[in-house]
């Protein structure tokens, strides 16, 4: 019943976002994420997450069912996605993704995976558990963003202070957007 009308559509959106997100890591477009922390953290990373989310939303019931017993209540998937997102909030990881191509490949794959994992997990997860993980991520995004925007210290050697400042506001906006998206979803599923 779930998303039947939505499935092929989601698949195409997912593919497009995956392609877009990965392209941002390839020269010459790569200069965007190399020069702007906002393009890196606030544009590319969420696009990759969303790419994974929509791609998995296209209806891969086989994966969902066969691995279901390892992911009851979506617990495993949520924990994995949470760790991946936390990892890419660290200034040291962001720097590495800019400087080391192999780390950047890992970034693209892991963020796609995090979106897919949340997609698999959220539908089998009780609202309380969703609230825990989404709430944690939202508060992490907002506090990280505020910290980036207010600290006097340049946290990434790869980005300028101005870039860090604007990325900070962007990350706060991401947190708010995530909270809204989740609220919208809950509202749709529990009218």
């Amino acid at each position: 019943m779930r998303h039947k009308w939505f499935s092929p559509f989601a698949l195409w959106i997912g593919l497009a976002l995956c392609l877009l997100g990965s392209t941002l890591s390839i020269p010459p477009v790569r200069s965007l994420i190399e020069q702007s922390m906002t393009w890196h953290m606030v544009v590319q990373m969420p696009i990759l997450f969303a790419g994974g989310w929509f791609l998995m939303g296209g209806g891969w019931d086989l994966t969902k069912k066969s691995l279901g017993s390892w992911n009851q209540f979506g617990l495993t998937g949520f924990i994995a996605a949470q760790l991946i997102i936390t990892y890419w909030m660290l200034p040291i990881s962001i720097d590495r993704a800019v400087v080391m191509p192999q780390v950047d490949v890992f970034k693209v794959l892991s963020l796609l995976a995090s979106g897919a994992l949340v997609q698999i997990s959220v539908s089998r997860s009780p609202v309380v558990l969703q609230l825990f993980f989404v709430g944690y991520t939202v508060s992490m995004l907002i506090s990280t963003g505020v910290f980036l925007a207010t600290t006097e210290r340049r946290l990434c050697n790869a980005y300028s202070m101005e870039s860090q400042l604007s990325a900070g506001y962007g990350v706060v906006a991401l947190g708010v957007a995530l909270a809204c998206a989740w609220g919208f979803r809950i509202n749709r599923h529990n009218p």
Partner: protein, 222 residues
């Protein structure tokens, strides 16, 4: 739960075998924490800058043998410059056109020079400014910089790379990342680098802690 069937019931319906999920979650959590600890030097370094400082403090590294020239146009290698006078060196990285962070660094070095002269430490501690912009910083530019900074050549020296091709190697060895900024400027991580006369980089100190840098240098000086 009834109206929430699409969200929660699937998980509940799977019934037994919760141990699998428990096992998988624990494994994922452990793996994730290991990766996070690995990346952050056991939780000590959340930025590249702190990692660089931790690594250098734990395992001093030899600076590369690169050809440099000074304000008088004398060619030498970086290690030969450091070997002169059997001192510990406080090294910073600049480019002479810099209007931002290097000005601060310049002031810090001037104060250090003053301290060294005042306390008669010039046979123990030396100051070395290394320009990472050899394309613009000719010996003439270095000379102008030297005069502007009022460097005392017996305490404070300035050099730049003989070959712009060595830039990458120099910056990598000290962990400096230089990024182009508006108005032809560069933005770079600035700090005070303590190097022994034998060319071993053994400590990186914040430029706001010049006193700590001087004390550490003195404690290590022969």
């Amino acid at each position: 739960m009834a109206k929430n069937s699409s969200l929660g019931a699937e998980g509940l319906a799977s019934g037994s075998g919760l141990w699998k999920t428990f096992l998988a979650s624990t494994l994922v959590l452990a793996l994730g924490l290991i990766v996070l600890l690995q990346t952050t030097a056991q939780g000590n370094a959340f930025t590249t800058e702190t990692l660089r400082r931790t690594e250098v403090a734990n395992a001093p590294s030899l600076v590369p043998e690169l050809s440099v020239y000074d304000a008088d146009g004398n060619q030498n290698t970086l290690r030969q410059v450091l070997a002169e006078g059997d001192k510990v060196w406080i090294v910073d990285f600049v480019y002479t056109r810099c209007q931002t962070i290097c000005v601060t660094l310049g002031t810090v070095f001037q104060q250090l020079q003053h301290q060294i002269r005042l306390r008669g430490l010039d046979d123990k501690v030396g100051l070395l400014s290394v320009s990472f912009d050899p394309a613009h910083d000719t010996s003439d530019a270095l000379r102008i910089y030297r005069d502007r900074m009022r460097m005392d050549p017996s305490i404070w020296r300035v050099v730049t790379l003989s070959s712009p091709l060595d830039r990458r190697q120099l910056l990598d060895a000290f962990g400096i990342i230089v990024i182009p900024a508006p108005l032809g400027e560069f933005e770079h991580n600035a700090a005070l680098h303590l190097v022994t006369g034998s060319g071993r980089l053994f400590r990186i100190v914040d430029y706001e802690d010049a006193t700590v840098a001087l004390d550490t240098a003195l404690a290590t000086a022969p």
